[in-house]
């Protein structure tokens, strides 16, 4: 490889790829080739750089200049300005509040509060090149562990670091290892849980795609600690790129002698392979995942026995999440003290969060544990889009809960979040502005859980469906007094009685929104009103007669012909027929049509009449 004057790093994480980064790379190559510059510039495909919202993004070294939202049309100009004339191309650079261009990546506010441990190479190296990982210190930790530490020492170090499972439960990693290492069985397994399924979480995908060797190295450290000689990466089939990259990493490691017999000249031998899912959320639960690898339906089973005792094919097995494993190489390289110096009393190190929703900078961020929600949303995330008001933040996906304005200064750690009714989960953070209806959001999460319930135990299969029926009743304007109490009763029962962690946490989105937004539920039930006008049965459109000019455009555009009138009498909407599509409001040239966040009295009385009629019939 010859030295080149410029390194151009193009983010090829799934987010940027979905925004077209691969096509841009091709075009840059073509343009450079046409200008005879290809031999001077290194074009490198990297994993996720983080700020997905700005995708496709790229960084040009040696200066470290960050370009955002690069489109095919920008390529010629970019090459001309930066690669030929040698000056940063301002139009594609981020701007600060005073509209001045921010030149380098490290000056971007999005990155300033971040501390990258698991993500340290992600977006910086070519994930398909083993040499690049090694150049960043890769496999040094494994070498040190294998040649200077006993498995027991390794467990002690992991324990001292305070690392806890990053996949959801937050179980201490070293404790899991200890349980498995105690078993005398000579066949043990390590599984990397890459069945990331929580809506709003994509750190595992990004790590597997952006730095696969790191996850593999982490798995080998874990395997050595418990004396396992075989590992499985279980990755969901929806992540084809992650599957391809980890397979490639395994192949490369085998070729380099980093995987196989007597690694680094030690007695430790290890082999790894990739297994894929086929579309089932519940397979993220460790016992369900094990069944899936065995070729069965992915049903969870009751614990104990724990997998560390009886796991894959009845053998002691440790199941660690992708991000947990990705932390290990750095912990073993820099030491337990270094890692545990970050974070809070009980939650050490850093955590990767997928910041999404109505926040300005969406993307993947890694911050020290204990950071406040305010710092995460306003400083890293840049605040709420369109400068609307912050309403709530959902943490932990369908197992987690919603927190409010009051909780913005809560430190993000396992215990504090749990205490407030949310949870760390896998690190999905969905920020919501004031246009969101919390009842609808909770219903939506519940729908997800009902859909994904595996059906093995009845509290989850039947109980969640009962809760959903009530939620549907409430959002369609048929809620009755007592519904909230019934939701709480059902939710608490499901939490206590479900078989696996997914059922035990599925009522959380509903319970936490009742806890913090009870007034919204009451509004929906008693006043038949949805203040955000999201629930269509609890709002209606009206035409202001004083403003209407009688142009009839709304009537002509109405898909169900429920608007009638004349130039003289003006126009009126027949409420029972209206489907609330909002077309009339959009097309009205004089803005005479507005949304009223309440069920129309005519509809309300009609509903009441029907309900009474039904009661009489019964």
């Amino acid at each position: 490889m010859s030295l080149k004057r410029i390194d151009l790093l193009i983010c090829c994480g799934s987010g940027c790829v979905s925004a077209g980064s691969l096509k841009i790379k091709e075009k840059i190559q073509a343009v450079l080739d046409a200008k005879g510059l290809l031999h001077e510039i290194n074009i490198i495909e990297t994993g996720c750089m983080g700020p997905c919202d700005y995708g496709p993004v790229m960084i040009v070294y040696p200066e470290g200049i960050f370009y955002k939202k690069v489109s095919l049309d920008d390529v010629e100009e970019l090459v001309e300005e930066h690669f030929i004339k040698g000056r940063p191309f301002k139009r594609l650079m981020l701007q600060d509040e005073e509209k001045k261009a921010i030149s380098t990546q490290k000056d971007i506010p999005f990155y300033q509060k971040q501390v990258k441990v698991a993500l340290s190479n992600c977006g910086y190296i070519d994930p398909e090149k083993l040499e690049e990982y090694i150049a960043q210190g890769g496999y040094e930790a494994l070498g040190t562990v294998l040649t200077t530490m006993s498995p027991k020492d390794a467990i002690v170090l992991a324990e001292k670091s305070g690392l806890r499972g990053r996949g959801g439960g937050g179980f201490p990693t070293a404790l899991k290892w200890k349980l498995a290492s105690g078993s005398k069985d000579n066949q043990k397994y390590v599984i990397c849980n890459g069945d990331e399924g929580d809506p709003g979480a994509f750190m595992d995908r990004s790590l597997l795609e952006g730095d696969p060797h790191r996850v593999l190295e982490g798995m080998m450290i874990a395997a050595y600690s418990v004396n396992a000689n075989k590992g499985f990466f279980y990755i969901r089939a929806e992540y084809p790129l992650a599957i391809k990259r980890i397979k490639l990493a395994i192949e490369q490691a085998k070729e380099a002698g980093l995987l196989g017999k007597n690694i680094f000249g030690s007695k430790f031998s290890f082999d790894a392979e990739v297994r894929t899912g086929a579309g089932a959320f519940v397979c993220g639960e460790e016992t369900a995942l094990i069944h899936s690898i065995e070729g069965l339906r992915g049903h969870p089973s009751a614990k104990p026995p724990y997998p560390s005792d009886k796991g894959l094919w009845g053998k002691p097995t440790i199941v660690n999440n992708v991000e947990t494993l990705a932390n290990l190489p750095t912990i073993f390289l820099k030491g337990a003290e270094w890692f545990s110096s970050m974070g809070t009393e009980t939650s050490k190190g850093t955590k990767v969060f997928a910041l999404t929703g109505d926040v300005k900078n969406t993307g993947l961020v890694e911050v020290p544990m204990g950071i406040t929600l305010r710092e995460m949303i306003y400083e890293v995330g840049g605040g709420i889009v369109d400068d609307r008001d912050f309403k709530a933040v959902q943490l932990g996906g369908p197992s987690g809960g919603c927190l409010t304005k009051e909780h913005l200064d809560v430190p993000v750690d396992y215990e504090s979040l749990k205490e407030k009714g949310a949870m760390m989960g896998s690190g999905g953070v969905i920020v919501m502005n004031d246009s969101n209806c919390m009842v609808s959001i909770a219903k939506f999460f519940l729908e997800f859980s009902v859909e994904e319930s595996c059906g093995k135990c009845s509290p989850c299969r039947i109980g969640l469906k009962q809760m959903l029926d009530i939620m549907e009743r409430i959002t369609s304007g048929k809620g009755v007094d007592g519904d909230i109490d019934e939701l709480i009763r059902l939710g608490e029962a499901i939490k206590q009685l479900s078989l696996c962690g997914l059922g035990q946490t599925a009522p959380n989105p509903v319970l936490s929104t009742i806890r913090y937004f009870r007034n919204e539920y009451e509004e929906h039930i008693r006043e038949k009103s949805c203040s955000t006008s999201v629930c269509l049965n609890l709002m209606h459109f009206i035409i202001d007669k004083n403003k209407c000019i009688g142009c009839s455009l709304c009537a002509r555009k109405c898909p169900v012909n429920c608007i009638s009138g004349s130039k003289e009498d003006k126009f009126i909407i027949s409420q029972p027929e209206c489907v609330k599509c909002g077309t009339c409001m959009e097309v009205c040239p004089v803005k005479a049509i507005s949304k009223i966040p309440q069920m129309h009295p005519d509809v309300k009385s009609e509903n009441e009449r029907l309900r009474k009629q039904k009661e009489n019939e019964e």
Binding site: S14, G15, V17, S18, A19, C52, D53, G55, E196, G197, D198, P199, G200, A201, F202, D204, R205, A237, E238, Y239, P240, R275, T276, G277, A278, G279, A280, F281, S292, I293, E294, G295, L296, R297, G298, A354, L355, T356, G357, D358, T362, G363, L364, Q394, P398, G428, I430, M432, N436, I441, F444, F445, F448, E451, E452, C454
Partner: protein, 151 residues
């Protein structure tokens, strides 16, 4: 006709999921036929009901023929907040199909799926193995028009 695929795998139960993926992917209509299930059943010496149990448990398998392009729109809360409902309406309109249906020309099948993990660019969909993010109604028309040209 399935022997070529089957012979790549050891006849053990744990290979079932991968064999099913492989057969389904190699079928131009992306599904698992009765004959395929029978062949797998013979090869792995597993009863067909076990195989159907597995097929129906996982959402990516289909026992009915599907289109050349399988559109899988993410229906997770995240994409919903970002407007996936309108995208769904648009796709239904453009293709004139409901969820789970295939267009008459056998080109497109519309499915919904759980989170695809591209939430920073919601709403998102996958068409076979390719991701499309930051979807808008206009983009849907563009994408589908382009895919139609692949004929």
């Amino acid at each position: 006709m399935y022997q070529e695929i089957l012979s790549k795998y050891a006849p053990t139960k744990d290979n079932l999921i991968y064999i099913l993926h492989d057969i389904q992917d190699s079928d131009p209509r992306h599904y698992l036929s009765e004959e395929a299930v029978q062949a797998v059943s013979d090869y792995l010496k597993l009863p067909a009901n076990h195989i159907y149990g597995v097929i129906t448990f996982y959402s990516m398998y289909s026992t009915t023929p599907r289109g050349k392009f399988i559109i899988r729109l993410c229906e997770s809360p995240h994409c919903y907040i970002k407007g996936s409902e309108n995208i769904l309406k648009k796709i239904k309109n453009v293709l004139n199909v409901s969820i789970g249906e295939t267009t008459k020309d056998g080109y497109f099948t519309l499915e919904l799926c759980a989170c695809l993990g591209v939430c920073g660019n919601a709403p998102v969909m996958m068409v076979n193995d390719d991701f499309y993010g930051d979807l808008t109604e206009e983009k849907i028309e563009e994408i589908i028009t382009k895919l139609r040209e692949v004929r």
